[in-house]
C-alpha cells in the first residue's frame, strides 16, 4: 500500500461509525492544526515570532481521527514533530502557543519549548526531542494502567525515522511481551529527517516488520479520515479491552522540509507538488461537502472561529512575559535544597 495522495477519500465504504458530529469535530481539529501552523509560519517568515518549528503539514488527519477514540485520561506521547498531536489531545491552544514562544504562560512556563510540550491534564505526558525516545516511556505509562487495573490506553506517536533506532525495538518487544495497552502510531511521512524512506531501509512495509514482535500490526491510509477513524477505533478498542498492543503504520506525506527554513532539495518536486495538490485538510473539506452533504456555511463558520482562536492565542503569547530569572533553577528537583550550591 502506498500513500493515497490521489485516491478519493472514503472509498471502500469505511465511513461506518463516523457521525456528522464526529466528522465536524475532526474538521475543527484539523483546521486548528493547519491554521496554527500557517500562523506560526507567517510569524516566523516575517520575524514576528521566533522558535524552532517542525512542520506537521500533511499529517493533521492522523491524531484528529485517533483522538476521537481517546478519553481525556488516556495518555499520549509524541515527538518534536508533534504539534498536531498536542492540539488533537486537547492542550489548550493559548498555553501551547505561549510555550512554543518561550513565555511564562506556556505549558512549561516557557522552559520546555516546541520540542517539549506536555500537559498531564490533557493526558499529553511527554514530547521528546529524541527520535524513538518516547516509545519506552509509553510502555511504562501503559504498564501503569495494567498494574492499577484501569482501562486507560496510551498512544505513542513517532515518525518512520524512529523505526531505525534501538529504543523503538526494545519498547515494541517489551510491550508485546507484557501485553500492555499501548498503540504505536507510526506516522510514516516518507522521510527520516533529510533522508527518503527507500534510502534508509529495505523493509517494504513497517507493519510487516513490527508484526514480527508478536503484536497486531496494520497499514492504514493516514490521510483518509474514514480509514484512520476506523483503524484507530479498532486499535484503541483492542488495547482498551486488554488484548495487548497494536502497531499502526499510518501512511502520510510530509509537505515540507524537516524544519522551518530547511531545504527540500532531496524531495522529488513532482511528488511533492502532487501531494500538496491532494493535501488532506482540503481533501477532507471537499469530502465533507461532496460526500456528506455538510453545508459550506457550517465549515466556513468553524474556520472563522478557529482563525480567531489562533489569532487570540498568538496575541496572548506575544503579550505574555518570558519566565523570570527565578525560574532558571526552579523545577530541577522537587526540593530546591537539593541543588548544588
Amino acid at each position: 500500500m502506498t500513500v493515497s495522495t490521489t485516491q478519493p477519500v472514503g472509498s471502500g465504504g469505511a465511513t461506518d461509525g463516523l457521525t456528522d458530529d464526529a466528522a465536524l469535530r475532526i474538521f475543527r481539529t484539523v483546521t486548528t492544526i493547519r491554521s496554527t501552523e500557517d500562523r506560526i509560519i507567517r510569524g516566523l517568515s516575517s520575524g514576528e515570532l521566533r522558535m524552532t518549528y517542525y512542520t506537521v503539514r500533511g499529517q493533521e488527519v492522523i491524531p484528529a481521527a485517533i483522538c476521537e477514540h481517546l478519553r481525556r485520561d488516556d495518555y499520549m506521547v509524541t515527538t518534536y514533530r508533534g504539534m498536531h498531536d498536542c492540539i488533537a489531545k486537547g492542550i489548550p491552544l493559548d498555553e501551547l502557543v505561549a510555550e512554543m514562544c518561550g513565555k511564562v504562560t506556556g505549558t512549561s512556563k516557557g522552559k520546555g519549548g516546541p520540542m517539549h510540550l506536555s500537559d498531564p491534564q490533557s493526558g499529553l505526558m511527554v514530547t521528546t526531542g529524541v527520535v524513538g525516545g518516547g516509545l519506552p516511556i509509553a510502555v511504562g505509562l501503559a504498564l501503569s494502567s495494567k498494574l492499577r487495573g484501569t482501562d486507560q490506553v496510551t498512544v505513542v506517536n513517532f515518525g518512520d525515522g524512529a523505526t531505525s533506532i534501538g529504543a523503538t525495538h526494545e519498547a515494541c518487544n517489551l510491550a508485546a511481551l507484557w501485553e500492555v495497552p499501548v498503540v504505536f502510531v507510526c506516522q510514516n511521512n516518507q522521510y527520516g529527517e533529510h533522508t527518503k524512506f527507500a534510502d534508509y531501509t529495505r523493509s517494504p512495509s513497517l507493519a510487516e516488520r513490527f508484526r514480527g514482535y508478536g503484536m497486531e500490526a496494520r497499514t492504514v491510509d493516514g490521510n483518509s479520515v474514514p480509514a484512520m477513524h476506523e483503524a484507530a477505533a479498532e486499535a484503541i478498542g483492542r488495547a482498551r479491552s486488554g488484548s495487548g498492543p497494536v502497531f499502526l503504520e499510518c501512511l502520510t506525506y510530509r509537505l515540507g522540509g524537516h524544519s522551518f527554513g530547511a531545504t527540500t532539495e532531496y524531495m522529488d518536486p513532482e511528488e511533492l507538488s502532487q501531494a500538496e495538490a491532494n493535501e488532506p485538510v482540503g481533501r477532507y473539506r471537499r469530502w465533507l461537502v461532496d460526500q456528506r452533504g455538510i453545508g459550506e456555511d457550517v465549515l466556513a463558520d468553524i474556520e472563522a472561529s478557529v482563525v480567531s482562536n489562533v489569532e487570540a492565542a498568538v496575541g496572548a503569547a506575544k503579550a505574555s512575559p518570558p519566565p523570570g530569572p527565578d525560574e532558571l533553577l526552579t523545577d530541577v528537583f522537587s526540593n530546591a535544597e537539593a541543588l548544588p550550591r
Binding site: 505549558t107 522552559k111 500537559d119 511527554v126 519506552p136 509509553a138 505509562l141 526494545e170 523545577d331 522537587s334
Partner: protein, 328 residues
Amino acid sequence: MTTDDPIHTLSEAVNQAMDIAMAEDPDVFALGEDIEDPIGGVMKGTKGLSTKYGRERVRNTPISEQAIVGAAIGASLVGMRPIAEVMLMDFFAVAMDQVANHAAKLRYMSGGRTNVPITIRTSVGGGRQFGAQHSQSLEAWMMHIPGLKVAVPSTPHDAKGLLYSCIFDDDPCIFMETMSLLFTRGPVPPGRFEIPLGVADVKRAGDDVTVVTWGWQVPEALAAAETLADEGISVEVVDLRTLVPLDRDAILRSVAKTTRAVVVHAATQFAGPGAEIASLVGHELFGRLSAPVERLGAAYSPVPYAAELESLHYPERKRIAATIRAMA
C-alpha cells in the same frame, strides 16, 4: 544505630528496604533483568520479592536497558514509584538516553507539571577482575547531569535507609550498590527506616586530616586511618553517602577543623567528583588550609583485567595512608 540491631549483609539491607516500600505502597514495583525468583537478581537484591508480591509487581524484563529505564519513567510520570535494576553500572551507557535526556529533564522541561520518581539500582564492580566493561564507577557522569540524585552507600545500615528514601523521593535517584561491599555485614535497624538524602556521616572522627569519600573507598579509608592512628596521625573519615545532594556543610565543617583534606574515590580521578570537592574546599577555606587538597581516584585508563594492574588502577588503603602521611 544501636549495637542491638540485627546483623545483615548490604544486599539483605537493600532487599529489606524494597520489601518494606512494596508492603507500604501499592505504587511501588520493581523491574529488571532476572530479578524474579528463583534468581532474585544476579546480586540477590530482589530475592524472595516476586514470590511475596507476585510477578506483576516484581517483573523480569528482556535484556533491554533502554526499555527498562524508559518503562520506569513512563509509569512514574503518573505517580508510580518504580525501582528499576540496571544489572551493572557499565550498562548505563546503553540506557543513557532515557537516563540523561528523559529521567533527568522531564520535570524541568514540563515546568514542574510532571516528575520522575524512579529509583535505578545498579551494581558497581571493581577489584574483582571483571575487566573494563564490568567495573566502572560512573558517579561523576551521573553528577554532571542536572536532575539526577546519586546515592552510594558504604554500609548495610546506610543502604537500607538511603534506598528507602530514594524510592519515596520525587526525583530520579541513582542508587549504586558496590559489588565488593554487597556481602559485607553490619547492623541494620529493623522495620521502616530512612536516611535523608544529602546528609553525610562521619564514619571516624579525627583531628589531623579529613578523608572525604563514599562507597567502596570508605572501608579502605577506615583501614588507612587505623594504620595511621598507630603512627600518631588522627584521621577523620567523612562518608558523603549521597553525591547529589552534596552535603557541603559536612565537608567544610570537618576540613575547617583538620585543615587538611584528601578526596578518595573509585571513579576516574581526572574530572572526577574529587575535583569538584577540592575546588569547594579550596575556595571556601582558602588561607586556612595547611596543605593543598589531595585527590586519589582511579587511574586514567580503562579498568585492566590482570589483578596486578587492577590493584594499581584503584585507590586502596596503602596508597591512601601514604598520601595522608605525606601531608600530615
